[in-house]
Symmetry: C2
Subunit: 453 residues, 2 copies
């Protein structure tokens, strides 16, 4: 594809009320719809009308009494909700977050294969390892397993899942009523996997799905996370505060791919963007201030402490962020902690100021401006080698999402940077990702050898 044909990709990071910490308190939010299917249907259909590549739900396997008190806690389980959304959408990709630390690969491979069948090839899996003790305590642990150990398990988990998805070859199904032969079982495979974390015999009990397997997405930007992404991910969600940081991350990740014999084009890097849109820049800034005024510093501080794994409750809000332990010592979300520390230092923020900077996107890049200004920034990042597209995090789902789809997307289309129509039917088509080779097929094995040589 020529340079000028290159299009950016847009993923909608969906949740019930919006990404701003105080979204549910905003007058435009209808908080009674937090678990209402019709609400999610409307958002998904609106994103599909705008021709977005995909929509996505994050996931966390715990909540707390404090989160319940102050926040929009208690949503629906993502894969269950996405299965329902397959029925009311036709083209947009559907990406669910699932943790490798508190699940079994057979169950998860099966659910994603089922979602891929139901959606006609629109499933994606955002692979996470989970990073908090609160989650571990819902799954028989006192503390979250160590960072490196979690990624070791994630590697084996994904290896097993891929073999399960490959266990039915494309042409295994015969379904000959006369002979009574349903499948050519020389094309159905046991794995007989015996590893460190898992023993799985196989085959999967779901036939091969339209995309072969869901697209694999990854969101951790720690050293372990980047290595994992270079090996498996086909799309990457990442939090980057500056163009320079984003460009460095982009170049670093793409260069790592070579080591695994992968083409840079087969991994799409999508930094998170929190747009706040006004007809004028002043209107956008007012909207941002209006949301920030609805935050509760007590709750924000608890969230930040939880995010960086360090209790900040005894530090004055108007003082600086204290010295934090080395990132390598942190067992939770390493890369986000680093980003937050860098941000506070670079901009000399008090804790109170830092909380407001994080309220909109928890460390993702916030842009308040006109549709033109926002399109300018997205274009700069996309053309300048910092992004293949963006993970859009509206501050409000009612209103904020509409502003982005109604004003920024058409501007990107006018500039020739974004599609005006879907060209394919599957999520792989939208992202320009290849259909995966089946590791059980002879010609794939041959290809594998060629690739390595």
């Amino acid at each position: 594809m020529s340079k000028s044909d290159r299009k950016l990709h847009l993923n909608l990071f969906m949740n019930s009320m919006g990404h701003h910490e105080a979204a549910w308190r905003h007058p435009q939010s209808d908080v009674n719809l937090a678990a209402d299917f019709g609400h999610f249907q409307r958002l998904a259909q609106k994103a599909e009308q705008a021709k977005l590549d995909s929509l996505f739900f994050a996931d966390r396997l715990a909540t707390t009494l404090t989160a319940a008190k102050y926040g929009a806690a208690g949503g629906l389980e993502p894969l269950t909700l996405l299965a329902a959304l397959t029925v009311v959408t036709k083209r947009i990709g559907l990406i669910a977050t699932v943790s490798t630390s508190f699940n079994e690969p057979f169950n998860i491979a099966r659910r994603f294969a089922s979602l891929d069948h139901l959606s006609g090839g629109r499933a994606g899996w955002n692979i996470i390892t989970s990073g908090t003790d609160g989650e571990a305590r819902n799954f028989n642990y006192e503390h979250i397993p160590e960072h490196g150990n979690r990624y070791e398990r994630a590697n084996e988990f994904v290896d097993v899942a891929i073999k399960l998805w490959d266990s039915w070859e494309e042409d295994a199904l015969i379904r000959d009523k006369q002979t009574g032969i349903y499948a050519d079982n020389s094309k159905v495979h046991e794995l007989n996997h015996k590893g460190t974390f898992f023993s799985v015999k196989g085959p999967l009990n779901v036939t091969r799905s339209p995309q072969g397997r869901p697209i694999l997405v990854q969101a951790g930007s720690s050293e372990n996370g980047k290595e994992f992404a270079a090996q498996y991910a086909e799309a990457i969600f990442t939090a980057q505060q500056t163009f320079e940081d984003a460009r460095t991350f982009y170049a670093d990740l793409k260069s790592k791919l070579i080591r695994y014999g992968r083409s840079p084009e087969h991994v799409k890097i999508l930094p998170g963007i929190c747009p706040i849109i006004g007809q004028t820049e002043a209107e956008a800034k007012d909207k941002e201030a209006e949301l920030n005024e609805l935050t509760n510093p007590e709750y924000s501080l608890l969230q930040l402490s939880n995010r960086i794994g360090y209790d900040l409750s005894s530090y004055p809000l108007d003082g600086p962020l204290p010295e934090l332990p080395d990132v390598e010592q942190i067992n939770g979300h390493q890369s986000r902690t680093q980003l937050i520390r860098d941000l506070a230092q670079r901009e000399q923020l008090t804790i109170r100021q830092l909380l407001l900077r994080l309220a909109g996107g928890r460390g993702h890049y916030t842009i308040a401006g006109t549709p033109m200004q926002i399109a300018d920034q997205l274009e700069e990042w996309f053309v300048g080698g910092a992004a293949d597209g963006f993970n859009i995090m509206p501050q409000l789902m009612n209103g904020g999402l509409d502003d982005f789809l109604d004003y920024v997307v058409p501007e990107l289309q006018r500039r020739g940077l974004f599609r005006t129509e879907y060209n394919g039917r599957t999520l792989r088509d939208h992202y320009g990702l290849p259909y995966p080779l089946n590791s059980f097929r002879q010609e794939s094995k041959q290809h594998e050898v060629n690739r390595i040589v």
Copy 2:
């Protein structure tokens, strides 16, 4: 409710092509639809038009190369499919089978709460412990855990799930935008459960769902299974070959309820019925023979061996069933093995004859006859104290299901035995089951004390 107002309940046991082992080979079956959502949508909507209480999917966490060769292997994961079916149905209940042996309670409680939200209170959980080594080998075991051990785990699993569903009280949500208080967190509860199999802190990260919790269904009829059912189940699926056996099972189970302080009306017993319907009895028998001719004895024998956990491949097809080990020695599906052995002995069947008797419903009761004859039998069982309703297992989904819904259901309605309209909106409403008390509420604790005293 007066005796004459008592209505029977009908659950559709759904699968892709029908319950007869050779269903997929029948000319009426469209085997390309085995993983097609539109096909399941049509079946579910048809069942809902007929005002059935619920539909249900069984589940098994493994398949084999032989099953792939001969059978309709490789379906969709039940909870995922049911989530999609919530969107295209409005009233019918949706029951998914999930194993307690190869899942974590936090994940499963969450998925059922989400399904209950999405469906507006129509979720049910058929609780199984799984019974085969093939399944164990997809989950890090060499052999299936011992029968008693599996039920011990199931007990604790369900206890934890119930506490998770109760962890948000009915009136916990406040959502006051002015004060910023989302929930009254004195009404959101940690479990801090530490047991033999699970440590789960809680609370659940899904708010309380319309039914409070899914209705709990159970299908094992072993001694362990019956004890478990008496304690937890609100509906019971069971395989019974004769009216006398069904009546004995019914009386036994209802009497056990008293020990747990439960009302006999709060557990609905639903024997499985495989109807084969003709305009005349002869036509029905012809239909049965036509299906039986499509079976493959080699495959049937493998299935039977797997079902009873005993390899029959070296025994002559035209000889009798050999002596089998004591049922208590069997670690798999105890009650079904007992039923099959009794059937062969009572009717003096050769192995070949036994295979044909099992082809239609794997041990469930098959009736080939006119709509009037089938309605007569259902009425006899219902009125005679052998059933509260039935688990309907059509031999063919295309055709056979339609015959039952178009001819037998209207006959049951004419007799005043079955509803002609839904009276309520939730699955609990359809089955006449009470809304569950929340174990964390003070008045519930008081009620609990009264009940025990």
